[in-house]
Symmetry: C2
Subunit: 156 residues, 2 copies
């Protein structure tokens, strides 16, 4: 299976342009990201902030030296549920050329194991209601859509 | 208006038992929390983890020396949307005796301002689909329910 040769690991700074290209290679992300050319300095600042924070883990899937997937994990301490830690997943993307090959599933299973290893009692994520295919994907992984996901933009 | 005399501020350790009592004073939280008596050590560990993390802010609403509301803010750096920070709100509770008095709205508005002051471009939260009253509350504050909120329990 193709996923046998895929490695999941913490991203490093040389992966940043490839990650931004992945974020833009998406029907919704394409409107919002700024890949190519000189990288928007916002991406470098955000990468540095993620690196500084021990409760953030930006991870990539790599095969044959090429970044083919990305996601971000946030480990969040909280009082609710008797002081349970949560693992939160954001920014899941798989290269369009690699979709339907099991990479997404393997990457999410890896991320769930990371959350378990960090002592989290729950993994959570939100998915845009327009991403109908993604909803089947998360349900197949055992996630339940028990919550409404609210967003409030502070700037456009 | 009653909210004039309410102060919103970072929680400190002496507020912990009052906060846990608030988390339990809720139809859903009542099943999951363990208030009263000797405080479950999980709450103390979680409080310490929140205090250690500069990107977490546990806040209380206080009036006349009494904690009447609580929420947790997490400031999350991320690459998506050109490296935008997100403010995330969890564990919003208002004392049952104080509901419908505007405390919740004032507390959320305070939290949104904190997110703006920290440079966040977006505020997000999830709300259990059973909390229908809460959904009207968040919509009135300008939040849009654009996302499905998925949860995966790693232990019961």
């Amino acid at each position: 299976m193709a996923t046998n040769s895929v490695e999941f690991r913490r991203a490093n700074a040389v992966n940043l342009a490839a990650i931004v290209a992945l974020l833009a290679d998406d029907p919704l992300g394409g409107e919002r990201e700024s890949p190519g050319g000189a990288l928007d300095p916002g991406y470098r600042d955000a990468f540095a902030a993620i690196e500084r924070d021990p409760n953030q883990l930006l991870a990539v899937a790599e095969r044959d030296g090429r970044v083919i997937g990305v996601l971000q994990l946030s480990f969040i301490p909280g009082l609710t549920r008797r002081g349970m830690w949560r693992g939160q997943i954001e920014g899941v993307r798989v290269a369009s050329s690699e979709r339907r090959g099991g990479i997404g599933r393997a990457m999410l299973e890896w991320a769930i194991t990371e959350c378990r290893d960090r002592g989290c009692g729950l993994v959570q994520l939100t998915s845009d209601k327009r991403r109908v295919g993604a909803h089947r994907f998360y349900a197949a992984l055992g996630f339940a859509a028990t919550h409404e996901g609210y967003k409030l933009a502070l700037r456009s």
